[in-house]
Amino acid sequence: MIEPALPVKSANPLRTVRPAKTDETVNPEVGQASRAIRNLDWDLLWEKFGIATVLAFVWILAALATPRFANLDNLASVLRQSAFVGVAAVGMTIAIIAGTFDLSVGSTQALSAWTAVAIAPYFGVLPAFIAAVAVGGTIGLLNGSLVVLVRIPAFIATLGTMFLISGLTFILTNGQTARFNGKDFVWWGNGLIGNIPVPFILFLFCAAIGAFILHRTSFGRYVFTIGSNAGAAYVAGVPVGRTILFVFVVVGLFTGLGAALLGSRLYSAGPGLEPGFELNVIATVVLGGTRLAGGRGSMFGTVAAAILFATLSNVLNLNHVDAFVQRVAVGLVLLLALSVEGVRQRLVERWNRRQRPSS
């Protein structure tokens, strides 16, 4: 069994090096959470539950400071809003764990959403959703082929696809937005089951599927291994090319589903791109504890991070924070939430250095 060495691919040169635990055998990702709690492994605990803890704190504080926050209506609104970036983030989590990312999700969303809204009036809800997911998957296939077969770096391949698909969407739609307000269709994006918004339930469902893929399938195992060290994975016999191709398809599928939900929520879909959507999705994944360098990640964290972002903008709106100041606030929270991890690491290192005076 090949131990993951120092990761070669690195967008963050300052990633801390974790010594491999000796009892991690085949499929090391199963049972991580329970092992973390049992062994009180703070590294792992923070990675898995850190953001969820922050989220809990923020909700409590928000409820105390802003009475209107705790209204059922409002909470439902927050959960609903988290789902649209969240579903795409589920796919992106898998991509980032595999050590890659996809910048074209914004344009994929536009085309898929439009497909759903255009098809729904004529063929019904299910075909519309299926079509959106299929469109997403196809774009994912395109991305995957460019990255794996043509060997174009993911950054620029997906950037190029973004331009391509966004232009195609404009041409296809002739710049016009499609609208549809059929009750069955819009229920998916706007409805409630009990008091919980339907898109959020779908989001949790997607996250569960994503977690299952990551932790219980060999594909997931390959994803983690490739993310840790692609070279070593290749030598160990992991089908790197095929896996990465599937990763992009998976990203596309989830993005397509999220797009259909968004089209349902907005009763419409147009060719315009959501500004900064792809960066928001990536930020959600990273905030959730998944490292950009790959090899490690947490779907649970992604869910918590998506909710956290939605909560943040909701709280800022409820408190009538000035529009420009809101931008600064969102950036600050992102930075500070992630620097908690960094500061914690430094304090731990300093503590360790004091324990082991040699070297």
């Binding site: 060997r151 391949a157 190029g160 100041v325 600064v328 992630l338």
Partner: protein
């Protein structure tokens, strides 16, 4: 007649360069305006704006990092400078603008090294913070200087092109001949090893991010000089263009290597594509598609060239 070998040699040397040549020839054939002096100057100016920030970004990527906040820094510097020109004069205002960009870059560096936030996220956060700061500073309004024409010198004639070329030479020397440059490449290649051999990676990264910030500010100043206006909306999306031209130029995203001429060629390619499509009055819908296709095409060629090299080596 060029022999097959020579073509491949040329190709291997610079796929981007070859693509640029091909695109240039195509546009020349399609429209007589393309090859005129005036138009070429426009193209070079517009390429220089992206090239300047692209050169800074090359250093960042060579050191193993990204800087997504360059667009916001450009806007911020533009606002600062435009507001200072009436008060302290053109040159001092320009210097202040560039310094403010360097300062923002340094803060980026601090966040990456001291708070251990990955560069992608750190600069993503700063992207929104700095843009918000620019909007707050200007209260969302425009700062314009219609009367002051001395400031225009920054963007007129050959100035942007000369600035870009001067920076290119400077950075080439920096990377190739100085210790700092070597340290940048070492940090990008493998930061752990670099630290082990004594490279002060924190200081190196502070320097790199400060440089990126300063180049972003300079680009922003040129843009605001073109329109004689400073506002918080300037240069949105500059970061993706900057990273794109660096990657197009052949600098690997994994760090450790840099291609300064590649970045220049990449900027020129993107500028040529934009310019040609405008000259041909191609509808904006099709412009995006064409840009995407050309980018992917250029990179496919680049990838194929790399393969051919590999095959020849192993054959």
């Amino acid at each position: 007649m060029l022999s097959k070998r020579a073509v491949f040699a040329l190709f291997r040397l610079s796929p981007v360069g070859l693509t640029l040549l091909v695109v240039g020839v195509v546009f020349t054939l399609l429209t007589p305006t393309f090859l005129t002096l005036n138009n070429l100057l426009n193209v070079c100016t517009s390429a220089s704006v992206v090239a300047i920030v692209g050169l800074g970004m090359t250093l960042a990527i060579a050191s193993g990092n990204f800087d997504l906040s360059v667009g916001s820094t450009a806007a911020f510097a533009g606002c600062i400078t435009m507001s200072l020109v009436p008060q302290i004069g053109v040159m001092p205002a320009i210097v202040s603008g560039v310094l403010s960009g360097g300062l923002i870059g340094w803060v980026n560096g601090l966040i990456v090294t001291e708070l251990r936030v990955p560069a992608f996220i750190a600069t993503l956060g700063m992207l929104t913070i700095v843009r918000g700061a620019a909007l707050i500073y200007t209260r969302g309004r425009d700062i314009y200087l219609f009367g002051k024409t001395e400031y225009k010198m920054l963007s007129s004639g050959m100035t942007p092109v000369l600035l870009a070329l001067a920076l290119a030479v400077l950075f080439s020397v920096l990377l190739g001949q100085t210790r700092f440059g070597r340290h940048i490449l070492a940090t990008g290649s493998n930061i752990i090893s670099a630290r082990r051999v004594g490279v002060r990676t924190s200081y190196v990264l502070w320097g790199v991010f400060a440089i990126v910030g300063a180049t972003a500010a300079l680009s922003g100043l040129i843009l605001s000089a073109q329109v004689l206006t400073g506002n918080g909306r300037l240069a949105t999306g500059l970061e993706l263009s900057a990273i794109a031209v660096v990657v197009l130029g052949g600098t690997p995203l994994t760090g450790g290597k840099a291609s300064i001429p590649g970045t220049l060629l990449g900027s020129l390619l993107v500028a040529v594509i934009n310019n040609g499509l405008n000259l041909l009055n191609v509808s904006v819908f099709y412009q995006n598609v064409t840009l995407g296709l050309l980018l992917l095409g250029a990179l496919t060629l680049e990838a194929l060239a790399a393969h051919r090299t590999l095959n020849r080596a192993t054959a």
